[in-house]
Symmetry: C2
């Protein structure tokens, strides 16, 4: 039986990256698109609980393309699985193709990753895929082909339960790709600051800006370094945030005893 793939993203349903992805996936499977109506970058794992959600059909080039949700990426996935596609089997969720890198600390701010996290929470094998460039009109075609290839690998082999894959594709021609590396979340980070400016009415406002810093240029096991060296980086991530090493340290520190109530 033909497989069924749910597609979402955080750049919004009208983005180039999700379109390129869907065109390629339709060659190998049935595809349903449920994605945010608008650009939703850096929303983290937000869900909408205080407001209702609306769903509208979205057309592209005169054809039905998918469902636009006026919420976050996690909202779109939850609504797809629990309402719109409730009676359909979903074999795989793919979130992307994001326009921009989702490596290292960026993972925790990423709406793209959060859609795949929500899929995993709901028991669906899921991956997020990003094209590691901020150029205005990048070519998504190789990343889309790779997504289809990875989908077929997952149909055959599965993904460890409770794990999702965070995929970053270098923005270079296929001939320059060196291969695939299974990586860890790197320790690259934002050295950021705020610009303090005045609006046309003289009121102050702050705007976040910064530069991305990587001290792990030698370590190809870091997702960020792998991509910079033209490898496709695949990082298995999960949503158990417990720092198990710290549990022992804290128990030894006397924290439990000091606050003992009798």
């Amino acid at each position: 039986m033909r497989k069924h793939i749910l597609v979402s993203n955080d750049d919004g349903i009208n983005a180039e990256g999700i379109y390129a992805l869907v065109v390629e996936l339709k060659k190998i499977a049935d595809v349903t698109v449920v994605a945010p109506e608008k650009q939703m970058s850096a929303v983290g794992h937000a869900i909408t609980v205080q407001y209702p959600l609306r769903v509208n059909p979205f057309y592209k080039n005169g054809e039905f393309f998918g469902y636009a949700v006026d919420g976050t990426p996690a909202d779109a996935v939850k609504l797809a699985v629990k309402a719109l596609l409730r009676d359909k089997k979903i074999d795989l969720l793919i979130s992307g193709i994001n326009h921009g890198m989702n490596t290292s600390i960026n993972i925790i701010y990423s709406g793209t990753v959060s859609a795949a996290t929500e899929g995993t929470i709901l028991g669906i094998p899921s991956f997020a895929i990003s094209l590691a460039t901020y150029e205005p009109n990048p070519d998504f075609s190789f990343a889309a082909k790779f997504a289809a290839k990875l989908a077929q690998f997952i149909f055959r082999n599965g993904i460890p339960s409770g794990t999702l894959l965070n995929v970053n594709v270098p923005p270079v021609p296929e001939s320059e790709i060196k291969g695939v590396l299974i990586t860890r979340q790197g320790k690259a980070f934002w050295d950021d600051w705020f610009d303090l400016r005045k609006d046309p009415n003289g009121r102050e406002y702050y705007w976040l800006t910064g530069k991305f810093v990587n001290y792990e240029h030698e370590d190809i096991n870091s997702d960020h370094t792998a991509v910079q060296n033209n490898y496709i980086s695949i990082t298995p991530i999960h949503f158990d945030l417990t720092d198990y090493e710290a549990i022992g340290k804290l128990k030894k520190s006397g924290l439990e005893e000091i606050f003992k109530f009798d």
Copy 2:
């Protein structure tokens, strides 16, 4: 020298929980409040990059209480550390007191936890604290006293670097508290669904609802179970989402080889 504590939350600067916390903390340290202007629950680790941020002084009972930011909890913390308090040492960040439990899967949706995560990313010892009840007007006073006690413990002992503490306090009188337990993130989850309704104009909308399910009633090491048994739960969490166990499995699965480009 008197210590300096930065306080934020996700219920908004006007919430009861942050007020009770600040009153208690002022007894032991200097306190600066930088918090979202509005209620920001379930925003996950969102940051605002597409829009400017505004800051306004916020007064309570005729006195200056803190800075209100028209953004998310992570925005408020970043803006405090990188702009408003740039020249001041911050010894500790406390996020809360949240009105409602932040255990198990809730951690990844939690704005309260995200403020403490942002603090940790910026190198500040941080904890999130939540009162585990949804009753309309709970008594935050014991949780506030506990926060001050924990602050003093951290001033003496520190927190393992890169780790933050996620604290959940049971909503019972001090005399019924059984003690403190260092726990792990539990596996309790939302069994959720969407109500499909019609607005006054006949247009359909969806509203998220659900019930929280815990299959770990016997395991006091789960944050959720600990709180249900009247223990104060303290879970060390971090922001390295890598599933290290899965790395080996994926390498063995042949994923790197199948996609080898020569």
